[in-house]
Symmetry: C2
Subunit: 338 residues, 2 copies
DNA sequence: GTGAAAGCGCTAACAC
DNA sequence: GTGTTAGCGCTTTCAC
C-alpha cells in the first residue's frame, strides 16, 4: 500500500508536523530528529504525494504552455528553452497543442486553468481579445508569447516585427526590385498584421506600387507556402519576403524544384526562426531575419514565474530584437532595431 | 474568492453529493434538480478544482512523456501524435526533456512518478536496465517508446530496426559497393545496437570486409553527424548508411557542401523519421527507410492508457515496421519486413 | 431521488 | 524543539 507521512512519523517516533518540516526545511528540527526522520523515510521508501501537496498548498509547480504547432521547430525550440528555464527553477512544463485551431485553444485553456497549472504561457491563435480574455479566470497568471493583442491586459514576450520587414523592403527597392511580394502567416495574428503593415508602409515610402495580389497569407503549417508562392510567381515578382521559418524553408525548396535560382532569378528575404538545414544550405543566397528563439523562451519562462510568484506584479511587455543578416556579407550580423 | 462545490450546492438548494453526481453523471439525478444545479454553476462560474479532484480520486488525467530531445523533429512529431490521441481520450500530456542525459532522466522520472501523472511514456537514454527499473515505483504504468531494454518487464512500442539495415547493406553490395560505412546513434541505446548488429551480420553475409572504422557513432543531436562523416570519408567509403533522421539531414548537407554528389560519387541510405525539407530535396538520390512516426505515437498513447486503466494487463510489445523506399523508383514504396 | 458526513495526505496555525 | 489538529475541495459510502 501507499506509504504516507504518518507512517513515517510513526516509525520515526515523531509527529507528522516534524516530518513535514524536515522534508520541507520549513522550521528548525534538531539534527538527531532529522536523522530519525530520514532513516524512516529511507526504510519505508516514502515519497510525498504531489497531488496531496498541491491540493493543500494550492501550488502545483507546473506551468502550462499552449502552442499552435508543436511539430514546428520554431515552437519546439522555444519549448525546449522554456523547459530548461523552468526545470532549473523547480517547475515542470505541460504542453498543449492547438494546431492553430481556436476551439482547441479554448478547450485547453479551460482545462489547464482549472487547477492543473500555476500559470499559463500562450501563443494564441485567437483573433478576438474578448474571446480569449473570457477564458482566463480573474487574476490567473498568464504571459502571451510571440503573439499579442491590442488590449494590453496581459504580460507578453514577443519579437519586434515592424523594423526588419521595413528594412527588407527598402533594401530590395534599393537593389532595383520593383515587384516585391510577401508571404505572411495567418492574417488574424498580431505578428502577421505588424509585418504586413510594415511592408505596406515601406512599399509606399519607397514609392513602389501597392497591389493586393502581392500579399499572400499562409497558415504557417506544413504545405501552405506552395500555393502562396505560385500566386506570387504568376504576378511576376522579382523579390519575395517570407514571414515565417517553416514557410520559408518550403519556399526555398519549391523554388529550387522549379529551377528558379535565389539571388540570380529572384531575391528572397526569409524569417529564420530555427536551425534549419535548408537555411544552412542557402544562407549565402538570401537575406535572413533571425529570430531570437532561445531568448524568447527564456524570457517567457522568467515572466511567467515572476507572475506566478507575484500575481499583482505590473503588466510587463518584453520586445526582443531579431538579427538581420544580409546575404552579401555572410560574416556580418547586425541588429535590425538600431 | 474561489467558488467551491458547496457554494453551488447552497445556491441550488441541494447537497454537495448531488452537485458532484450531476457533474460527473455518476448516479441518477432528476432533471429538475439537474436544471437547478446547472443554473447555479453558470451563475457562480464554478469550475471543479482539478487538484482536489485528483487528490481525492488518485487520477490526474495526465500522462508524462520523457523525451530525449524535444527539438528533434522525430520526437516533436511523435509528441504531437501522442498528444492527439490522449486529448481525444480526455488526458493531458506533460513533457520532460532529458537531452540524452541520464541524470536528467532520473530526476524527471522521479518527479513525474511522485503523484504528478497517471502513467509514463519513456524514450529512455539509459543503458542499464537496473538503473531505470529502480526509478519506477512498483506497479506504476510505464510504456517504453522507441528504445527498449533486454529485460522485458515493461510494455513497449518500437520500430523494427534489423531488417531495413540488413536489406540496405545487401542492396548496396549488389550495386557493387564494397566499403560501406554506417553512422549510428548513441551506442548504449537498443535501437543503435540492433541497427549495428544488422549491419555487421549483413556485411558478413555479403562477404564484405568488416572494419571497425566503418562504424561511427553520433549522438543524434545537432551537429554530431559531421565528425562521423569526416572519419568515414577518410576511409574512402563508397556508401554510407545513416541511422537517424537529424544526422541524415546533416550528412546530406555536409556532402553537398563538399561537392560530393549523392548516388554519383557516393551511395546514401537514410533513416527518415520526420518530414524534412532536406529529405524532399534529395529523396530521388538515395534510399530511404521511412519510420512510421505517427503510428508510433498513436500506439504509445493507446498502450499507456490501456495500462493506466488496467495496471495488471499483461506486458505488451508492439513492433512497427518502417517503409523502404529505394531511390531508383521514386513512386514505389515497400514494406521492409515482409 | 437525495443528503450527511467521512476522509484522501498534506501543511501550517496554534499550543506547549 | 516538537506535537495536535483543522481543513484544503472533492467523491463516495451509507442511510433514508
Amino acid at each position: 500500500m501507499k506509504v504516507t507521512i504518518s507512517d513515517v512519523a510513526k516509525l520515526a517516533g515523531v509527529s507528522t508536523a516534524t516530518v513535514s518540516h524536515t522534508i520541507n526545511n520549513t522550521r528548525y528540527v534538531s539534527s538527531e530528529t532529522k536523522e530519525k526522520v530520514y532513516r524512516a523515510i529511507a526504510e519505508l521508501g516514502y515519497t510525498p504525494d504531489a497531488s496531496a501537496r498541491s491540493f493543500r498548498t494550492g501550488k502545483k509547480k507546473i506551468i502550462g504552455f499552449i502552442v499552435p504547432d508543436i511539430a514546428n521547430k520554431f515552437f519546439a525550440t522555444m519549448i525546449e528553452s522554456v523547459e530548461k528555464y523552468l526545470s532549473a527553477n523547480g517547475y515542470q512544463l505541460i504542453i498543449a497543442n492547438t494546431r492553430e485551431n481556436m476551439e482547441r485553444e479554448e478547450t485547453n485553456v479551460r482545462l489547464l486553468t482549472a487547477g492543473m497549472v500555476d500559470g499559463l504561457l500562450v501563443a494564441s491563435t485567437m483573433e478576438d481579445f474578448q474571446r480569449f480574455d473570457a477564458l482566463i479566470p480573474t487574476g490567473f497568471p498568464v504571459v502571451l508569447v510571440d503573439r499579442i493583442f491590442d488590449t494590453k491586459k496581459f504580460s507578453s514576450v514577443c519579437v519586434s516585427n515592424f523594423q526588419p520587414i521595413y528594412r527588407s523592403v527598402c533594401r530590395l527597392a534599393a537593389k532595383g526590385d520593383r515587384r516585391i511580394g510577401i508571404i505572411g502567416g495567418l492574417p488574424r495574428l498580431s505578428s502577421t498584421k505588424e509585418r504586413i503593415s510594415a511592408y505596406r508602409q515601406a512599399m509606399a515610402d519607397c514609392a513602389l506600387p501597392e497591389e493586393e495580389g502581392l500579399i499572400q497569407y499562409g497558415d504557417s503549417m506544413e504545405k501552405s507556402a506552395q500555393g502562396c508562392l505560385d500566386r506570387l510567381l504568376e504576378r511576376g515578382c522579382d523579390a519575395i519576403i517570407v514571414c515565417q521559418g517553416l514557410m520559408a524553408s518550403e519556399t526555398i525548396i519549391y523554388l529550387h524544384q522549379k529551377g528558379i535560382q535565389l539571388s540570380r532569378d529572384i531575391d528572397l528575404v526569409s524569417f529564420v526562426d530555427y536551425d534549419s538545414e535548408v537555411y544552412t544550405l542557402y544562407a549565402d543566397q538570401m537575406d535572413s531575419i533571425i529570430q531570437p528563439v532561445e531568448e524568447l523562451g527564456q524570457a517567457a519562462g522568467e515572466q511567467i514565474l515572476k507572475r506566478v510568484e507575484d500575481p499583482e506584479a505590473p503588466i510587463f511587455e518584453k520586445v526582443l530584437t531579431s538579427a538581420y543578416k544580409p546575404y552579401s556579407q555572410p560574416g556580418s550580423w547586425s541588429h535590425s532595431d538600431r
